[in-house]
């Protein structure tokens, strides 16, 4: 099946800093999603982005499907951005998501 790798595994930022999280995947995809898992364990949908670029407030994401990677940008980070960010991909021809191991983000005041 498809392999999904995320980097970095951990990231510590000062409030107000910007960051880029990366997701590499090993095969063609018909679904790529970014999630934020809050301290209570809820997976919150950030972006559905199998290709192209999207923006939502301070967050934006880009997927370059031909080169098999996706990037999540967080600008002007806030303490509430802390948590684990997951990338998950679905191989064309399959129906299930494969998750990366996540990036643990800590934003300090």
């Amino acid at each position: 099946g498809i392999q999904v790798e995320q980097s970095p595994p951990d990231l510590i930022l000062q409030e107000g800093a910007n960051s880029t999280l990366r997701c590499n995947f090993s095969d063609s995809v018909n679904n790529l999603q970014w999630f934020h898992q809050n301290p209570w364990g809820q997976l919150i949908n950030l972006f559905y982005i199998p290709s192209g670029t999207k923006q939502n407030g301070r967050l934006s994401a880009t997927t370059v499907a031909t080169e098999r990677y996706s990037l999540l940008y967080i600008s002007s980070s806030q303490t509430t951005d802390s948590g684990v960010y997951f990338c998950a991909a679905m191989n064309s021809g399959y129906s299930t998501l494969t998750f990366g191991k996540g990036t643990m983000l800590l934003v300090s005041p």
Partner: protein, 117 residues
Amino acid sequence: GAGVSQSPRYKVAKRGQDVALRCDPISGHVSLFWYQQALGQGPEFLTYFQNEAQLDKSGLPSDRFFAERPEGSVSTLKIQRTQQEDSAVYLCASSLGPGLAPYNEQFFGPGTRLTVL
């Protein structure tokens, strides 16, 4: 409802007990998925339903795990004779359907945290 709901949110079981975890998907969503998330890891796929049909159960770790969705809506994940290694968060997700974007975007419930003593 507005989102995917799961119950119970927390379950403590003694080793050897049977447990049943419930998932209510978003109304009208055809596809339903169960995932298992161990501490510090990403969710891992367990099983997939399209309406009432279980199309993929390749992720179920043993024959003690059983899932059903008899009327194509609510789903139950049952674990028989629970073991300590079954301790994890069990997540349910649903999507409009299979196929092309955006029908396959998955939305997750809050999860059930199972602790087996």
